[in-house]
Amino acid sequence: MEKIFLKLHRNYIENEGNIISLLQEMQGEFGYIPVDAVYWFSKKLDIPASRFFGIATFYAQFHLSPRGKNIVTMCCGTACHVKGSERLINGVTTALRLPDGKNTTDDGEFTVEKVNCVGACSIAPVVIINRQVFGKMTSDSLMKEIRNVEDKRFEK
């Protein structure tokens, strides 16, 4: 872990000391912002940990807990909303049996997140699964894609 921290620290200096960029790189490495990493950098840079947490909790992109292996991003933009994204979200939440108030399945396989607008409004409603963009989704096609992901897991 320390090796990665040192690499991030070097980049931080190169990036004119920008905490947001640091957190973005940290998340790129670990998939989320580990609390240990925050305290390590807080000590190293002599910046209060509260500053890091203040930034991490302000921006929607940052996650303070590990996410599922597969990320399902539901677009909640205006066009998607008008084309039924709410029903899709309810459907996937039920189908994946997401615990109340949580967005990651208990087995750590799936995280369902909502995003404000992917910018592919003409093919609304849009769902992104593991960075692949799917348009004109219906409850059926969404379930089909999720099952594809589950099947791939078993193939391994």
Partner: protein
């Protein structure tokens, strides 16, 4: 018949849509199929990646559609709904044989869709290869920058932009020339030019398409702007949710530096300018200029009081100009073709063209660019092709969460800054979501408040608490708990939030509420007084009933019901128990005999 790539102009070119939408529709598979077959048939042709506006006038617009242009012997043919299995025939009959496969070619409506548009910003999207600077140059790219650096003084450049009448395309519509003028007159050893590519409005993808489709137009626009104001450093603040745009932009920047359009000595002259890319981190409020600046500085994206305006004191306290992507994309064309040309488009106070993202319940959903002052009717019906599924037009929501809706009896309205403001909406960044009779206007207002409330940075009380209370009232209304006096309360609170919020987010968040009350008060009253949702959207106000005479007793509804609310024997009419029903609508969706009534 076939040429090598060295004689590209005389050969055949195939263009395939590779924007985010095009890729989602299968553009990559189509392109790979083209490459495979062409290689197998030992043909040398250029298969170029192009970002045309996705959904360019196509009907249907479903996920598997891909548009392909074939340019052969000076003729352009456009294919629609292209799938990988169609590729071989297109190659054999058209690319080799010379005869287009007519049954797959776009229809007349495609031509009509484009004829009524005036493309300035989008003129090269779908033509140039966004990953190849030589393609941009072949189209006249960077000639404007060359002209500026060799023959014009900074003040001359500012005069051109001022005379053109260009106004900011991000939503505020501030005259660009004036902004550049003020900043240029500030004395400071360091100035900045920032391109605002945060495009946070849900339903807007104009900027994404320009950056994915023609990133060099932004770089050239920024370089010209930086020269005019005296900035040596530039930033493009782009939202992280646009990975393809980020990738293409970074590639373009690298190519621009290699060709000396950026760097310490641009085109060998004494002007130095370079651009860094800064990723957003998922905060709508960072589209507001002072919050954006805070974000670039690595802080929480909270707005600051204005004055002082960024042109005087901006990034790191230095004079800074912030321009929207579309604004900057207009600059090279204005410099090349002249201020008078640009000013001849549009209206007196709203010169030029505007790119709109036309989405929602419209047939030809996609990106359009039209002269300011065109009528809304022409956009919706002539270009947009009217409402899909032959439903009735109800309203069009413009300007995203900061805007308002325009109802059917105002369809003749001219789309420009002043006219839309008069009816309680705004041009905004360019999002236009079309609504039909199946959309509930109270639900739309609630949707926007859910958005702005969660995006509120929390710094000022009117926005932090005001949007929360506005949302609570709307939630009560849409769940059947509306009270007499709620509409007046919404209006009063909305006006207070507008008047006292620190930044544009709070100042405009109440607009959708005020606008929907202004034109659709009866819908609010139906929700509050009769506890009914006329459009059939608000779940708690709906009831689902099996129409006994239509029910075939197939049992599908009983199977899909998650609450066990449906009873009935096979081949006998079923019944829904309203006490148990959770109104999820699953039965309504599942019934193949339209036997479930919603109301």
């Amino acid at each position: 018949m076939w040429r090598t790539s060295a004689l590209r102009n005389k050969g055949t070119t195939v263009r395939i849509c590779m924007g985010t939408g095009g890729i989602a529709a299968g553009g990559l598979e189509v392109m790979n199929t083209f490459k495979l077959h062409l290689r197998n048939k030992k043909i040398q042709a250029e298969v170029k990646k192009n970002c045309s506006m996705h959904k360019v006038g196509c009907r249907g617009l479903c996920a598997k559609d891909v548009l392909v242009d074939v340019l052969r012997a000076g003729q352009k043919t456009t294919y629609q709904f292209v799938k990988p299995e169609m590729v071989e025939r297109i190659i054999d009959e058209h690319l080799i044989g010379g005869a287009p496969v007519s049954e797959w070619v776009v229809g007349e409506d495609y031509a009509r869709f484009h004829e009524r548009q005036t493309k300035v910003v989008l003129s090269d999207c779908g033509v140039v290869d966004p990953e190849d600077i030589t393609s941009y140059a072949a189209s006249g790219g960077y000639n404007a920058l060359k002209k500026v650096i060799s023959t014009l003084s900074p003040s001359a450049v500012i005069e051109i932009i001022k005379k053109s009448g260009l106004r900011g395309r991000g939503g505020a519509g501030f005259p660009t020339g004036v902004k550049w003028d003020i900043c240029s007159k500030e004395k400071s050893p360091q100035k900045y030019l920032i391109c605002n590519a945060d495009e946070g409005d849900p339903g807007a993808f104009m900027d994404r398409s320009v950056i994915e489709g023609n990133p060099h137009s932004i770089i050239e626009g920024m370089a010209i702007g930086a020269y005019a104001i005296g900035a040596s450093k530039g930033y493009v603040y782009i939202r992280a949710e646009y990975p393809l745009a980020v990738e293409r932009l970074k590639k373009a920047l690298k190519q621009a530096r290699e060709n000396r359009f950026l760097g310490n000595s641009v085109l060998g002259k004494r002007f130095g300018f370079d651009i860094k890319v800064k990723l957003g981190a998922g905060a709508f409020v960072c589209g507001e200029e002072t919050a954006l600046i805070a974000s670039i500085e690595g802080q929480r994206g909270m707005p600051r009081a204005k004055p002082p305006f960024p042109v005087y004191k901006g990034l790191w306290g230095k004079p800074t100009v912030i321009n929207n992507v579309e604004t900057l994309a207009n600059v090279p064309a204005i410099v090349s073709r002249g201020a008078a040309w640009y000013a001849s488009l549009g209206t007196e106070k709203s010169r030029g063209t505007k790119v709109f993202a036309l989405t929602g319940k419209i047939r030809n959903s996609g990106l359009i660019e039209v002269p300011m002052g065109i009528s809304l009717k022409e956009i919706i019906y002539d270009i947009g092709g009217g409402i899909e599924h032959n439903r009735n037009f109800k309203a069009v929501q413009t300007g995203g969460p900061s805007g308002g809706c325009i109802p059917a009896d105002l369809l003749e309205i001219k789309v420009d800054f002043e006219s839309l403001a008069k009816v309680g909406s705004i041009v905004g960044s360019g999002g236009m979501v079309v609504l039909d009779e199946s959309d509930c206007m109270v639900n739309i207002a609630k949707f926007f408040l859910q958005f702005t409330q969660s995006e509120s940075c929390g710094k000022c009380v009117p926005c932090r608490i005001g949007t929360k209370r506005l949302l609570e009232i709307l939630e009560r209304i849409t769940s059947g708990k509306g009270r007499s006096g709620d509409i007046e309360l919404l209006e009063e609170l909305a006006n207070d939030v507008k008047a006292t919020s620190l930044c544009g987010l709070g100042q405009t968040a109440p607009n959708p509420i005020l606008s929907t009350i202004r034109y659709f008060r009866d819908e609010y009253e139906a929700h509050i007084v009769s506890k009914k949702c006329p459009a059939g959207v608000c779940r708690d106000l709906l009831s689902y009933v099996v129409r006994q005479e239509a029910c075939k007793g197939c049992g599908m509804c009983k199977r899909v019901c998650p609450a066990g609310a449906v009873t009935g024997e096979k081949k006998e009419a079923h019944k829904i128990d309203p006490e148990i029903c959770v109104r999820c609508g699953a039965c309504f969706e599942a019934c193949k005999f339209k036997a479930i009534g919603k109301g």
